[in-house]
Symmetry: C2
Subunit: 123 residues, 2 copies
């Protein structure tokens, strides 16, 4: 698929099933749009260099912050500000769109077993 | 609303009715997320300095390019590459999310009567 094709989120979501492993499905200058499936609890982590946008497509996502929870349903968006520790969780599977600069690591400063490889569903 | 609140697209869409006038509803570093309502045909224009992302929330949007049309329904996304002339149109009202760097003018190089003022629905 070239840069110049449209992206259907449902079609792209049908191409993978693993959780916590964002797939690049679009680009905007030096930013990337990624689809991710979420189930269970992630690790607490911080992106020191960038904000990170979550847009929920299906399900209910809780983004735990140290001082409160942000609960997102479909057509809801939240920007985690740079430097703010957060930990996403979902009791049932969630599909979400992430927007962030190219090269952001999903586990941020935390690293560990949930660190996902760079995977793209576009050319 | 502060940077740290979530955004519900439906709630924000209920706050305005005019067409072709994007409203900033979120930020990501030096980028902005904007909601826009679209009806009829826009002007042909180009953004020489940046790509521009369209994500359709409701309705069917046609992004006319000089060599083809890109037709987007809900949960579909298209990145108009920088420098590519385009003209959105919709026979029935469309709601869409735009993502682009702060300060992009809706009519790009074309200017004219459809050039929208900078409006934000966040603080």
């Amino acid at each position: 698929m070239s840069h110049a094709d449209k992206v259907n989120f449902r079609e792209k979501l049908s191409l993978f099933s693993e959780h916590w492993s964002p797939k690049v499905i679009g680009r905007l200058n030096d930013y990337e749009m990624k689809l991710v499936k979420i189930l269970g609890e992630f690790v607490w982590h911080t992106h020191e260099e960038t904000d990170e946008v979550f847009i929920v497509l299906d399900g209910t996502l809780t983004i735990q912050l140290r001082d409160r929870d942000v609960v997102l349903g479909p057509y809801e968006m939240f920007t985690v500000p740079r430097g703010v520790e957060h930990c996403p969780k979902a009791d049932e599977e969630v599909s979400a769109l992430l927007i962030e600069p190219r090269g952001v690591i999903n586990t941020g400063d935390a690293g560990g077993a949930l660190t996902a490889p760079y995977e793209s569903l576009i050319n």
